[in-house]
Structures are given as structure tokens and as C-alpha cells.
Amino acid sequence: MNNIPLVIRREYSTRVRKKSFWILTIMVPIMLAFVYAIPIYMALRPMEKTVILVADESGLFGGFDRDDTKRSDSHFASSDEIEYRYAADFDYARRTMDADDDVSAIVFIRSRASEAIPTDACLYYKRDLPPMQVRSDVDRQLQRILRNRLLQAHGISDDEYAMITGTKINLRTQDLETGRETFTEVKTVLGIVLALLIYMAIFLFGSQVMRGVVEEKSSRIVEVIVCSVKPFHLMMGKVIGIALVGLTQFMLWVLLTGIAVVGIQLSNNDLFGVATQKHNITELATKGDDAAIQMQQAADMADLPQIVEGIASIDFGVIVPVFFFFFVFGYLLYATLFAAAGAMSDTDTDTSLFSLPVTIPLLAVILLLPTMIDSPSGTLSQVLSIVPFTSPVAMMLRVPFGVPLWQLWLSMALLVATFPLCTWLAAKIYRTSILRFNILAKFRLKKSM
């Protein structure tokens, strides 16, 4: 009689009913949704009207013109969010700011006798640091006005200037065969996230297996169980039961994160609509469509968030199945070894010693991660992504960049082939250790003799 299904059911149901399982299940998507939503929120957040006083000693920035027909190319231009007001001098500006709570900062452009053109300006603020947008707007305006003054002085017309600055070569990184753009940064980040997810999953669920084994041993229930269940069946039931818990958790994470992300996208439709549109245009443009190239230039002008575009360019149809494969088999490989380590331990504190050899390959990959990030297709990355004990983590780093199919298949085949070997070894250790106590003490005694 085979009792594995009963063991699996117990392992699964006792864990899935724990409060900690559901807290983790709900917290992770909420956190991910926040990470995803914050930049978008920051980009779209309506700003409060900010009033800024300009004290211009040089007169180059429109400081001495008192007429109301200010030319925008030589003055600070107010917008919906930021209103610029001119002040006669710094002292006046300062008194105004003290008196008027609406005024949040002063731009002070100092003039030095030795210089025809001022080289520095200062943004003075009271209480709160002005938001990033305000600071960059002030900076943009300063550069713009200064540039216009210089253009005037050198007799360059606006058209000439537009022609000079508007001509540029656009460098893109693109796959020769598929014609897709690379978006290296986005893929690197995705690779790191996936690699760390696998690493954490193996640790999280592997150590659950180990703790489960130690719990059975230290509570002394194991002898009652092993007279009804073969030790190998007990170990495999536990490993599989916890694998199902892990898969349930990951599915729920993917599902809940998906719902959250789609929700965020729908509520910010404009931003994402344009991103997808641009992505399509990019693909057309690479096929040499003239109209599309023009459209792409127009789209480039729109200055879209690169991240959103990069995410849209990633092939999730490959990444998701590959992720689940390496998650499941990476976990299985390590879980049996964690079970063996647990079987040798009497208490939770012993486990740190016995699990150390098990975790070394995992820690090695994490330490080598920065080197691999530099060159995701380099020799080191290739080797680590094929060797079974490091491949689950290393391969996930490479997958967003695209991995040659033969390497992917080889890595997966080796991982699957190593699993029975590992299980055989782990089962042997498990069977002989599970009813022996004080293995650590006896080991020490032997050494000291």
C-alpha cells in the first residue's frame, strides 16, 4: 500500500491553512503592485501650484525688463504648475517670501563684475525641498534663456539652431534576426528579479521541507509514522506536498499581481496605450516602412517612459513556462537534499550546520551574479546556467535576453536527470538518519577520539 497521497495531503492542507501562508500570499502582490505603481503615480501626480521668485542681478534673464510683454525666449515662462514672478533684488525677494506663504523658493542669479555671463544660480527654499519637477524646470528655463541669449549674440537664427540640434543619429540595440529592440536595462532588471525569486523560492520552500523533517524527528512522531509509511515515501510525500504549496503560492502571486498590474494599467490608460502603440510602430519601422519611420520619430518625440516600452517588448510566453520549470525542478533537486540535512539534525539549530553543504552552490551563484550581469551570454553564465545545481538561478538571469535553444534544453535535461540521483542519495541519508539521534554529538565524539 502506498501512503504518499495521504502524506502529500497532510503536508499541503496543514500548510495552506496556516495564517502565515495567506499573509505572505497577499503581501507580496501588494508590494509588487506598489513598486510598479509608484513611478507611474509620480509621473502623473498633479502638482500643486508653486510660486517662485526670480531675483536676477545680471539682467540676462529678464530681470530688468519691467514691461508686461515679456518675450518668452528671454524670460522665465510660467506654466500651470509653476508661476515665476520677478523681484527687483534678492532682499526684496526674501522679504516677500517671508511674508507670503505661497512663495516656496527664490531663484537667485548672481552677477560678478569679472564675468560677462553668470556661471551660477541658486535655488533658495524655505521649509520643504522643492519637488524634482520644480528643480528641473528651473534648470531647463535657465539653460534655455542663456542659450537664446548666446544664439542672439552670435547671430544664429532659430531655424539654424533647430536644424543643428534636431539632426541626430539614433542608436538602437537590435536583434539581427527578430528585429526586436533589446532594452538591456529592463531585461537585466527582470533577469535579476527572476533569478532572486528562484533563489528565494528554493530557500523558502527547501527550508520548509527541512523544518518539517526536523519537526517530525524532534517531536518523536516519526517512529509512529515510519511503521505505516516507508521513509522514502514519507520524504517524497513531504517534498511533493510542499512543492504544491509553493506552486499554489506562486500561482496566486502571479494571478494577484497580474490583477493589480492590469488594474493600474486600466486606470492609467493613456500612458500604456501610447506605449503599446509605439512598440508596434517600432516593429514596423524595422521592416523599412517609411510611414512607420516617420511615425516612430513622432513617437520618440513624445518621450515615453522607456521602462514601460521595455516591459512591453519582453517575451513572457517563453519566460513564464521556463520560470515554472526551473522553479519546480530546482526546488525538487534541493528539497530532497534539505530533507536529508533535516533528517540528520535533532533540533532547528543543528540544521544550519547540516544544510550548509546543500546551500553552497546556491550562494556561489548569488556571489557570481554581478559578473554574470555584465555578460549574460559569457562563458561563466553559460556554464553556470547548464550545471544542474546552479542552473535554476543562473538560467533565469539569462532567459530575458534569449538563450540558444540547445542550451536551454541541455540545461533542463541535465536538471531532470540529476534529480533521481540526488533523491537516491538523499533517501539513503534520510532513511539511516531519521531514527538516530545525536548524530552531531557522535560525530564530534568520533573526531575527538
Partner: protein, 284 residues
């Protein structure tokens, strides 16, 4: 169910846990497995349960080699016994019964009866960690006997029980025997051996050093001392002179006293245990 173990050997590395062990347990009897700590009792019990395999030797249940299927007809209460602390009592008992092959419904029905009998029904939905040690012992006992095994093995069943629960347990064991179960009892408690066991085997340093029925063994260790109570209330302990039988001693006494009682003083199992074990392990 009859159990016959012949020529059992088991070593762990260079350590010999059992050497040429032979025991025979009669159907429907209570068999005491005695011996000091580390003698190899638990190893023998684990071999009977097929938790470990002997290096050598044969084990027959009713004349047939023990298979995994037959192990289901054994109920085993180990010395090192525990429960999943976080699991609820009832759920856990059902799980353990299912591992023994009972259906969920059958297990629940039988557990209901036992829980009422032991007066622990209120604890069904509590996590095990809230139970006192005595209550956990009751649950463990119930789980051991629930699938109505025909061979029961209790390893130190009385350790940790208070006298009330120990008596309860003793009565349950006798009740199980009355219903036809064969029982192996491994214990240090020599009083309970005299009270419960029909036969015993004493294991010391991996060998069976003594076996047989309890009255026989006690008789064979007789020091030939008689206790005599006479009518004036005087109690005497007398040994017959060499060559004299008990009857001859009695008839001699009857000439001088009115005899109220005359009985042979047999050594207790405790004395026999101590004598046998210290004799085998002489102090260096």
C-alpha cells in the same frame, strides 16, 4: 497471532545490536520483552515492525514471513512517541488511522467511541500542544489500537503515566488480550511484568539471556525459602535442610505449631532481572 523470531542478527557498523536472538510469542499471550537500556529491545521491535531489516534471521507471523501488508495488522506504540504539535487532535488521529488503512469515515466513527471512553471528546478540535502529557499518551494509545491489530507492541507504555492512567492502560491491555490480541510489552516496570505477562524474554548485551513463562522462571530461581505463619501470629522464613522436601518441612512444623499459612517465597522478577543483568555484566 503467533510470532516466531529465529536467529536474528543486526549490526550498526561495528556495533552488534542483536546477536542470535530467538523469541517465540504465543497467540493471545502477553509477552514481556525485558532488558536494561541499550540492550537491543527497541532494535528487535523495529525489526518486527519492518522499520529496519535484520542482517540475518527469520521472522514469521502465524508461520508466514512478515510483509508490508502484514505490518498493518500490528499496532505499535514506540517508546519515543510524539504527535504533530500544531495539528488538531481529531484530524491528526484520523490521519494516523488512515495511514493504517482505515477509511476516513470508519476512523472518525471508531475514534468517536474511543474518545468518549477515555473522556477526551472535548479535545477533538484542540491543537495537540494544548494537551497535557497524559492526554497525549491517551491519544497515542488510541491511535495504536484503533485499527484493531492482532499483534500489539507497547514499548515502555507506562512511562509518563500517573497511577490513575497507568491502571486505565493496564486494564485496556488486559481487555485487548481477552479479545484475542497478542501483546508484546517492553518495559522496565517489573511489577507490571508479574501482573501482566505470561512469558518473557530478557535481552542483555544483544543476547537473549533468559526466556520462558513467568511462573516457571520464578520457580527456577527459587532459593527454596518458605514463609510460615503460625496461630500465635508469628511469621517465620525457613529453608528445608539438605535433602528435605517442602512437605517434610511442613509435617515437621505441624508437630510443633498450628499452621495458618505455608508458602514458598519466590524471587520477584525485579530480583531476577537484577541478578541476571549484573551477573552478565560483572563490574570491572
Amino acid at each position: 497471532m503467533k510470532l516466531q523470531a529465529t536467529n536474528i542478527h543486526k549490526s550498526f557498523g561495528s556495533y552488534k545490536a542483536l546477536e542470535d536472538v530467538n523469541i517465540s510469542v504465543r497467540e493471545g499471550s502477553v509477552f514481556g520483552l525485558l532488558g536494561p537500556n541499550g540492550a537491543g529491545k527497541t532494535t528487535l521491535i523495529r525489526i518486527i515492525n519492518r522499520i529496519i531489516r535484520p542482517d540475518q534471521g527469520e521472522l514469521l507471523l502465524d508461520g508466514r514471513p512478515i510483509t508490508d501488508e502484514l505490518v498493518r495488522t500490528i499496532g505499535y506504540l514506540p517508546e519515543e512517541r510524539g504527535l504533530y504539535k500544531k495539528m488538531r487532535v481529531g484530524e491528526q488521529a484520523v490521519y494516523l488511522a488512515q495511514l493504517k488503512g482505515l477509511s476516513r469515515q470508519e476512523a472518525t466513527a471508531r475514534l468517536g467511541r474511543w474518545f468518549r471512553k477515555f473522556d477526551i471528546s472535548d479535545w477533538w478540535n484542540r491543537p495537540v500542544e494544548q494537551l497535557s502529557k497524559g492526554m497525549q499518551q491517551k491519544v497515542q494509545f488510541i491511535v495504536t489500537v484503533l485499527h484493531e491489530p492482532s499483534l500489539l507492541i507497547f514499548d515502555e507504555p507506562f512511562s509518563g503515566f500517573d497511577p490513575v492512567n497507568a491502571t486505565l492502560l493496564k486494564n485496556e491491555i488486559l481487555e485487548l488480550r481477552r479479545k484475542g490480541a497478542t501483546i508484546i510489552l517492553s518495559t522496565h516496570n517489573m511489577a507490571s511484568v508479574e501482573e501482566l505477562c505470561d512469558d518473557i524474554a530478557l535481552i542483555n548485551s544483544s543476547h537473549v539471556v533468559l526466556s520462558g513463562s513467568v511462573p516457571q522462571i520464578r520457580k527456577s530461581f527459587s532459593k527454596n525459602i518458605f514463609e510460615v505463619v503460625v496461630d500465635d501470629g508469628k511469621v517465620m522464613q525457613l529453608s528445608p535442610s539438605p535433602g528435605q522436601t517442602g512437605n517434610e518441612l511442613l509435617s515437621e512444623l505441624m508437630k510443633q505449631h498450628t499452621i495458618i499459612s505455608f508458602r514458598e517465597l519466590l524471587p520477584s522478577m525485579n530480583d531476577i532481572f537484577v541478578e541476571k543483568v549484573t551477573h552478565n555484566n560483572p563490574e570491572p
